[in-house]
């Protein structure tokens, strides 16, 4: 051919898509800030026992309603007293709020991550099936419509009264209403991806259905799903706090941010710190998760990509 068309000799020099996507994700401000804040929160709640905390359920009637920063002694269950600074004060039972908030972070993060992972996994399987198998679609989606009609709080109350209040009950109660949301998203993604010529091309080279879904359809749904997962995580953390606050979540003696706030609510006028500190942590966590989600959406989800970002 003519030397003016050096097409055959041209070798691409663009870095692979994986690397460049990962690069863009890391450079995104929202991902950075949200990720760092979340990482700090996770470290703090995992390392809670070593961060100057005491048993978060420890009652000490001599230390009731202390203001933040007060110093004193706290009596352990063994009977010995230790000097302790109550950085966030104590509640009306004399429990150390700093310790309760740090331990409460464990519950919130576990609930957030578990609910997001569970609803994504279940919703993904149902959504793939509904989107790819035509006759399943209308059946599954009507069931999902039905599930979406159940108010989440009522479901939680029903489950708690059926079983008993536990972490598992709360996680199940929050996951169930989330499943239809994920299913709808996955189904709509699958419906558009299955029309892509590369799926048709895979069919024509004899790819069996399961492989087709696993290799060609699934990987192309992941980016929007990860983004959706972060929002579900933030929502689950909020809902768990709400359920605890309403008294239908975890038992009142378990330190969760919602429980701490529920107990502090009665004395909010005199001792606002009971509500303030768990509230700040809750808000910060949700904000960080949402920032992470927005950052991921901007970088991963091509529909929101700015013009020219996509390699063409």
């Amino acid at each position: 051919m003519d030397a003016l068309v050096p097409e055959l000799e041209v070798e691409a020099s663009v870095p692979t898509q994986r690397r460049s996507t990962w690069h863009r994700v890391r450079k995104n401000l929202g991902v950075r800030i949200g990720g760092i804040v979340l990482l700090l929160l996770a470290i703090v709640s995992i390392l809670a026992p070593w961060l100057g905390t005491v048993d978060p359920t420890l009652l000490d009637p001599t230390n009731r309603d202390l203001l933040p920063g007060a110093s004193g002694e706290i009596m352990q269950l063994t009977g010995e007293s230790l000097p302790h600074t109550f950085w966030m004060g104590t509640d009306s039972y004399g429990r150390d709020i700093y310790s309760r908030v740090l331990y409460g972070g464990r519950i919130s993060l576990v609930v957030g991550i578990t609910v997001a992972a569970l609803s994504l996994a279940i919703g993904l399987v149902i959504g793939l099936a509904a989107g790819y198998v035509r006759w399943l679609d209308s059946v599954v989606m009507r069931i999902m419509d039905g599930m979406m009609a159940i108010p989440g709080i009522l479901l939680a109350i029903a489950l708690v009264s059926l079983w008993h209040a536990s972490l598992l009950t709360v996680i199940v109660a929050i996951t169930i209403p989330d499943i239809p949301r994920v299913t709808r998203l996955v189904r709509s993604l699958v419906l558009s991806i299955r029309e892509e010529p590369y799926v048709e091309a895979a069919v024509s080279v004899g790819t069996p259905t399961f492989k087709l879904l696993y290799r060609h359809v699934l990987p192309n749904t992941l980016a929007p799903l990860i983004v959706q997962g972060t929002y579900l995580c933030a929502l689950a953390i909020l809902v768990e706090a709400g359920l605890s606050f309403l008294g239908v979540g975890l038992p009142a003696d378990v330190p969760t941010w919602g429980n701490i706030m529920a107990e502090g609510r009665l004395q909010f006028n005199q001792y606002p710190h009971n509500v303030f500190f768990p509230g700040i942590f809750l808000a910060l966590t949700v904000l960080a998760v949402n920032m992470l989600g927005d950052g991921l959406r901007d970088t991963l989800d091509p529909r929101f990509n700015k013009r020219g970002d996509r390699p063409a």
């Binding site: 691409a12 692979t16 048709e200 091309a201 024509s204 080279v205 192309n220 390699p311 063409a312």
Partner: protein
């Protein structure tokens, strides 16, 4: 000397950081005189649309003109305020686009959209405006202007929509009309009508036209002058006839040489070679029904009988909606026929499942139209090419070995296997798709508009490659295309389809030189640049 309506002086348009080149348009000087059609010709990425957008002031916010001047009727545009540009758009310069469906607002009637323009720029009263619009709709030769005035864009055909766009562009009698690939999305017969319309209106009103296209056929139909762009630089400019018959620059010559000739090249294959593929009464009916409305039936393919001999290339040509792709997809078993049989090697292929399906798929492979969407963006080239053999039971090592050999066959390097599709150009991707199809060692290769999305020079290469491979591997090909030039070059026999039916079939020379059916004659007559020997070929 006629007055220049538009003149570009050393125009450069700078791209944002991280683009594949610094300037989208580099030092381009160009003049559009009153009453002439200047064609801006170039392949994709040549910057031709960028020039149009710069003139109209429609550049994306991160792209800017960095040097040069644009003079519209003597007025500098690059330094004009957005308010001034708004005044000029519609009144002094107007633009029509490639895709009339997306350029029109789907929730407004056609009349209301044109009316908006008159409200913005004139003091006319309501009845005056309506009368003016109806008159304009008549001028663009739309039937029943009163009905179309209150019709929504989706109720019109592609050609009618483009006429509405033209009416909208010309209603305020602009001095300059910019047409950005206005006929690329249209069928050839519609394209011929629209080109003629633009030409007529332009002659009547003396409008200057900057016509952007990649199609030499279109250029030869409409252009007074031609400017050839390549990677943002002006390669050559001159009067159309001179440039098309005696191009000075090597690039222009190469482009012209790449334009396939309309003269058929091949003889039908020997009767003695056996039938590989045969369809009998192949029919596909698409039905849509709802609870509250009457069902709609579309006969996408109706009683299609085809015969393909070993080693031959059968072309299926037709316009959009003719059912050619439906037939191809039925043969490839990507959709199930409503009725009729497909015979491969003398055996009827029924409803396929399990092992039978796999064996059949292996023998019939497809190359799809859009090289950008027919490769999974998240799988490496090697994984794509090796997928077929792996599905058919080859070992991983054999499959990759075969993939590496095929890279040589389609003239890509072996290192391509480890890379991802987005790293390749359209032509390279189409080579990868061909390699993927060949990896299964098919008997029949179906090319569904396989070169339609490619630039003309790349198209020539891919066609050459396909022919070369066909001869080496003794492949049988079914070649679906809307482009008669391509069909003339690659096919032995040809089938013309219209609205799901075969209207004519025969050896390519016979169909092209002595068409029997009226529709075939219309198609041939509409082919742009017919009878024009590009670059001295034929």
């Amino acid at each position: 000397m006629t007055a220049m309506v538009l003149s570009l002086e050393g125009l450069s348009v700078e791209l944002p950081d991280g683009a594949d080149r610094r300037y989208a348009v580099s030092q381009v000087s160009l003049q559009v005189p009153r009453g002439e059609v200047v064609c801006l010709l170039g392949e994709s990425g040549s910057g031709k649309s960028m020039i149009a957008q710069t003139v109209m002031g429609l550049l994306a916010s991160n792209i800017r003109a960095s040097a040069g001047r644009i003079l519209l009727n003597g007025e500098e545009l690059l330094s004009a305020t957005p308010e001034r540009l708004r005044q000029l758009r519609g009144t002094t310069m107007a633009m029509i686009f490639q895709e009339p469906m997306t350029a029109l607002n789907p929730v407004m009637t056609c009349g209301a959209q044109i009316d908006e323009l008159l409200v913005q720029h004139t003091q006319m009263t309501v009845p005056e405006r309506k009368a003016r619009i109806l008159q304009m709709l008549g001028r663009v030769q739309l039937p029943d202007p009163a009905r179309l005035y209150s019709a929504y864009p989706h109720q019109l055909s592609g050609g009618q929509r483009q006429r509405i766009m033209i009416a909208m562009a010309l209603i305020l009698k602009p001095m300059l009309l910019i047409a950005d690939e206005p006929t690329t999305a249209l069928d050839v017969t519609t394209q011929a009508e629209i080109l003629q319309l633009i030409r007529e209106l332009q002659r009547e009103s003396g409008t200057a036209v900057l016509f952007i296209t990649h199609d030499f056929g279109v250029v030869s139909e409409i252009a007074d002058r031609v400017a050839v762009l390549r990677l943002g630089e002006l390669v050559e400019a001159g009067p159309a006839r001179q440039l098309l018959t005696d191009p000075q620059h090597a690039y222009t010559r190469m482009l012209l040489r790449s334009v396939p000739s309309l003269t058929p090249r091949k003889q039908p294959v020997d009767e003695s070679s056996g039938l590989v593929l045969r369809t009998r009464g192949l029919t596909k009916v698409f039905e849509s029904s709802g609870w509250f409305r009457k069902g709609r039936r579309v006969n996408a393919a109706d009683q299609v009988n085809l015969e393909v001999r070993r080693g031959e290339t059968l072309g299926i040509v037709g316009e959009s909606g003719s059912g050619k792709s439906t037939v191809a997809r039925m043969i490839a078993h990507l959709i199930t026929p409503t009725s009729g049989d497909i015979e491969l090697d003398g055996k009827i292929v029924g409803r396929l499942s399990g092992k039978g399906a796999l064996a059949f798929r292996r023998k019939v492979q497809v190359v799809f139209q859009d090289p950008y969407r027919s490769l999974n963006p998240r799988r490496s080239v090697g994984a794509a090419v090796a997928e077929g053999p792996l599905n058919f039971g080859a070992s991983r090592q054999d499959a990759w070995q075969r993939a590496a050999e095929l890279m040589g066959l389609v003239k890509l390097s072996k290192t391509a296997l480890d890379r991802y599709p987005h790293e390749f150009s359209g032509g390279q991707r189409q080579r990868i798709c061909i390699a993927r199809a060949l990896a299964c060692e098919p008997e029949v290769l179906i090319a569904d508009e396989a070169v339609s999305a490619l630039d003309v020079s790349v198209q020539a290469q891919v066609l050459e490659l396909l022919e070369d491979i066909q001869q080496r591997l003794q492949l049988t090909m079914v070649f679906i295309t809307h482009d008669l030039r391509v069909a003339a070059q690659i096919c032995n026999r040809i089938v013309v389809m219209q609205r799901g039916r075969i209207v004519e079939q025969g050896p390519v020379a016979q169909v092209f030189q002595a068409p029997k059916d009226e529709y075939t004659r219309a198609l041939l007559a509409a082919a742009p640049g017919r009878g024009f020997a590009f670059g001295g070929k034929n």
